[in-house]
């Protein structure tokens, strides 16, 4: 019962089940993506909606699994579903029923219509055959008349032509004056025919007459050609017409060229009128040009070059590609143009506006490109012109830089020499140095920026090989930067070498110091900075001419700095030495009284050396000083007071007589190092100060050796020496140097003394402390 009913219901449900339960089931199956899933899913015979549905298996499953209540519910649900599906099917059927009916009707009607159309087509074919037969008959009938008509038409055309020919002279005469172009055209057309039928007298007459008229026209054209007020277009037209009149082309080309030449000369003369001419004495007779170089080039390019190009192209079109005469003609004119441009460039005296110059040259070069296909040699000339102008400008910048530097130096000198109002500090040396260095560097960078305009990318001639390679290296790097640095070193050196020899006003020592520091800074950092900057902006070629390496320039700068510093030491040393020398030479050493205090000149010397120390300390670093021992500032002279303080060098001598002392000093000298007085100094403060002190003390020594001293003279020397030693040891790099020299002074004084009795050491110290 329920099993059978269930199975029939299940079967019906199976067939319609796909439709209702899952309406998109067939669509899904069709479109495939779930086909794979469906394939993967194991066919489940107990699933109602699956194609592999097996009612027996389903029933078994359901019976075994579900309780009775569920079974009953399931049955009710299934029954409902079946009923719903049935009703759906009926609805679909009724809806679409109408459509089926109308489709059938339409098809029936189409069949009927087609039968009708076929009949019509047959009729049409029959008619067409009839028409073509009758048309053939008609054209056959008219053949003959047609031929005759064509013949007559031909005759009429011929007559018309003859009439035209006969009218030719009349027409020519009418147009020759006013519209020569039309006349020419007419004549050209007639000419061939006339020539061909020359043997017929009537034609001959016509030909002669027209020939005469045309000759007259040619004559007129020729005279017109020789007029001066033609512009290139008219000139071209004239020549063209003359060519059409079969005038000899060589003659014409010469005429053309001479006319063109006259025209271009006029242009060039106009350009030249702008330039100031100079008479025999070389002074300018006309006022300087009011327009700037850009205008000049513009005018030159548009007027001259434009005209030349126009004329050249017309020449080519007129006379073919034979440029035998054209090239030299163009070459001479172009050379003259270049000359004028050079003269104008030479007038650019100032450093005005480099960008203007660059633009002018750029325009010149660009406009010239059109001309250059005519004149391959001109390219080289133009390039040289531009290159020369650029080089000129770079040289001028170099000179301006040099003047600027000299101006800065002048300012510095003035600042150093300016009288200071009391109570106010003068300009510090580091400040002056910084200002000088930065202004020079700034100016150099500005100049480089200007010069870079020449190699900017949007400038036409920057792609010339000269500018890419040689300009960057030779002109800018070597000619400007390296030359400037070298000149700076040379000028700085000139302060050391030159004036002092001739007795001319020497440079103030502070200036020497400043320049020495500047050169040293250049060697250590500035030169490499400048060269890297230049190389960045103007990249050098690998295969180009050799460049000066940075270290070579640095070496030059260092040499200049060394020379300046040595000279500074010499100058300052000489100043101090002069004081000492005067003090020794002018004093009466024999008759002097017992010394009560240190001589004023010694105090002055110490003050001066302290001032120099401060001055040098502003610009140079301290330097290394030999470590002092504890009793350094209290040392007395070893030679004389060796009984008091132990001598440094001779270990165990206790001299009692002058003879032994003498031997002692010689032995001491054997052990001590020889001091070079005028040796090159290093770049630090103690070295400089040591140099100055050495020079001064050596002078003192030599001067003392030339005098004869009395006893008190010797004591005065002793006091002075001790004072100097008290204050000067701290400036020297090695205090033994100072000590040694002062010992020598005392020893020499003792030798020169008539009555060598030294003062007590405590008294000496007392006087020095007091003084």
């Amino acid at each position: 019962g329920s099993g059978a009913g269930g199975s029939s219901e299940a079967a019906a449900g199976g067939t319609g089940g796909g439709g209702w339960r899952r309406p998109h089931g067939p669509l899904q199956r069709y479109y495939g993506p779930s086909a794979a899933e469906a394939a993967e899913a194991a066919p489940d015979p107990t699933d109602i909606n699956e194609p592999h549905f097996d009612p027996e298996a389903f029933m078994n499953k359901v019976r075994s699994e579900c309780p009775l209540g569920q079974l009953l519910a399931r049955e009710a649900a299934l029954g409902r579903e079946i009923r719903a599906l049935d009703s759906d099917m009926q609805t679909l059927l009724y809806e679409n029923y109408n459509k089926f009916i109308s489709a059938t009707d339409t098809i029936r009607k189409m069949k009927v219509d087609f039968r009708y159309m076929e009949a019509e087509m047959d009729d049409l074919a029959a008619n067409m055959a009839a028409i073509s037969a009758s048309s053939a008959r008609v054209s056959a009938a008219l053949q003959d008349r047609h031929r005759r008509g064509a013949q007559l038409a031909g005759v009429q055309a011929l007559l018309r032509k003859l009439q035209a020919l006969v009218e030719v002279p009349g027409r020519l005469r009418r147009w020759a004056g006013t519209e020569p172009v039309r006349a020419l055209r007419c004549y050209a057309r007639a000419r061939a025919v006339l020539r061909h039928y020359r043997h017929l007298p009537s034609f001959r007459a016509i030909e002669d007459e027209s020939h005469a008229i045309m000759a007259e026209l040619a004559q007129r054209l020729r005279t017109r050609l020789r007029e001066e007020t033609l512009d290139p277009k008219e000139l071209t037209e004239c020549v063209e017409m003359l060519l059409q009149l079969e005038e000899p082309p060589e003659e014409l080309s010469e005429e053309f060229l001479s006319q063109a030449g006259a025209r271009l000369e006029a242009e060039l003369a106009a350009l030249e009128a702008e330039l100031p001419t100079s008479d025999a004495s070389g002074a300018a007779t006309t006022p300087p040009p009011t327009s700037d170089i850009l205008d000049f080039v513009d005018r030159g390019s548009s007027a001259f070059v434009g005209t030349l190009c126009q004329l050249a192209s017309s020449y080519r079109t007129l006379f073919g590609a034979d440029t035998g005469r054209l090239e030299p003609f163009a070459a001479t004119l172009a050379t003259r143009y270049f000359e004028l441009l050079e003269r104008r460039l030479a007038l650019e005296r100032g450093l005005g506006d480099t960008s203007l110059l660059v633009r002018a040259l750029d325009r010149f070069h660009r406009r010239l490109q059109a001309l250059l296909e005519l004149l391959p040699a001109g390219a080289a000339a133009a390039a040289t012109l531009v290159a020369r102008a650029a080089r000129e400008r770079v040289d001028r910048y170099l000179r301006a830089l040099q003047t600027f530097f000299l101006g800065c130096l002048g300012d510095v000198r003035q600042a150093l020499a300016a009288p200071r109002p009391p109570g106010k500090e003068g300009p510090g040396l580091p400040d002056l140095l910084a200002t000088l260095a930065t202004s020079v560097l700034g100016q150099l960078k500005a100049v480089l920026a200007y010069v870079q305009l020449f190699t900017a990318r949007d400038v036409a001639f920057a792609s010339l090989p000269y500018f890419k390679g040689e300009f960057c290296v030779t002109a800018v790097r070597e000619g400007l930067v390296v030359a400037f640095v070298r000149w700076l070193c040379r000028t700085a050196r000139g302060f050391a070498d030159g004036p002092a020899e001739r007795g001319a006003p020497a440079a103030p020592p502070a200036l020497l110091l400043l320049l020495a520091r500047l050169c040293l800074d250049y060697e250590s950092s500035t030169i490499s900075y400048i060269l890297t900057l230049t190389d960045e902006q103007f990249p050098p070629q690998d295969s180009g001419p050799p460049v000066t390496p940075g270290p070579a320039l640095g070496a030059e700068a260092r040499a200049a700095a060394q020379r300046l510093l040595d000279h500074y030491v010499q100058v300052q040393g000489a100043a101090v030495a002069q004081m000492l020398r005067k003090s020794v030479e002018t004093r009466d050493w024999l008759g002097t009284v017992e010394p009560r205090n240190v001589r004023a000149v010694m105090k002055r010397v110490v003050e001066d050396i302290t001032a120099i120390d401060v001055q040098v300390g502003q610009l140079f670093e301290e330097g290394v000083r030999r470590a002092q021992s504890s009793d350094s500032s209290r040392r007395a002279f070893s030679v004389y007071s060796s009984s008091r303080a132990p001598s440094r060098y001779a270990p165990s001598y206790t001299p009692s007589a002058p003879m032994d002392t003498h031997l002692l000093s010689n032995i001491q000298k054997l052990f001590s190092e020889r001091i070079d007085i005028f040796s090159p100094v290093e770049f630090n403060k103690v070295s400089v100060l040591t140099g100055i002190i050495k020079i001064s003390l050596k002078t003192l020594l030599e001067c003392v050796r030339l005098r004869t001293l009395g006893r008190f003279g010797l004591q005065q020397v002793q006091v002075d020496g001790h004072y100097l030693q008290l204050y000067l040891w701290r400036f020297a790099s090695d205090e033994r140097v100072v000590q040694g020299l002062l010992d020598e002074v005392a020893a020499s004084a003792a030798h020169r003394c008539l009555d060598p009795v030294p003062m007590e050491h405590s008294v000496v110290e007392l006087i020095c402390e007091r003084g």
Binding site: E501, G503, A574, K669, I677, F678, K698
Partner: protein
């Protein structure tokens, strides 16, 4: 005292050194005062030439070239030795800067004037060979007709260029300033120097140079 003249000028002017010129039949004398070298004619007691600013500081000594008429050497406190042509006193012909302190003495060798001796307060004595301004810049020249055929070939092989000026030797035997140097009048290759510490040193010109000059 046969004649005298005074130097006019401002301040205290002192003559530091003087020398007779060995040429001109003993009528010329050169003096040094401060930084100027003057030449005087003893017949008229007038100044012939004046070398202004011969040295930056004091001129210490002068010497005349015994073989060349117008040549004069001076040395001074700027540590330089300068050679002058008295016909053109604006520029020194040559300058030597070998010393590192004041040069107290300069002496020409009496017979071979390319040998110059200088002594200085830097305790050194320097012997220099100033060939280019000596009387025999090309070395010892021999007349062609005195040569035999063999020597003729040797002569052609000799290089006829002036020899280079150079420092021959630096003598550092002194420990203190050298104040005087002199050539021996008996032997032209011997010289002596004296320093402040009482040391007298006698030296010879190096043998190689001596033979080079002689031959």
């Amino acid at each position: 005292l046969s004649s005298s003249t005074a130097l006019e000028g401002k301040g205290q002017l002192k003559f530091t050194s003087g020398r007779w010129s060995p040429h001109h039949n003993c009528t010329q004398i050169a003096t040094a005062n401060d930084t100027t070298v003057r030449g005087w004619d003893t017949r008229s007691m007038r100044q012939i030439y004046c070398i202004e600013n011969a040295h930056g500081q004091l001129v210490r000594d002068l010497d005349f070239n015994p073989n060349k008429q117008y040549y004069l050497a001076s040395c001074g406190d700027d540590c330089k030795v300068k050679f002058w042509d008295t016909r053109n006193v604006t520029e020194p012909v040559k300058t030597l800067e070998e010393h590192s302190h004041w040069v107290w003495n300069v002496r020409y060798n009496h017979s071979h004037d390319q040998l110059i001796l200088t002594g200085s307060s830097d305790s050194r004595v320097i012997l220099s060979n100033m060939v280019s301004i000596s009387s025999e810049p090309f070395g010892h020249m021999v007349d062609d007709d005195e040569l035999s055929d063999q020597e003729d070939q040797h002569q052609e092989e000799k290089i006829k260029e002036p020899l280079q000026d150079s420092v021959i030797a630096t003598y550092e035997e002194h420990e203190d300033s050298v104040y005087a140097v002199e050539w021996s009048s008996a032997d032209p290759w011997l010289f002596a120097s004296l320093s402040y510490d009482g040391r007298l040193v006698i030296n010879r010109v190096p043998r190689a140079l001596k033979y080079h000059i002689l031959l």
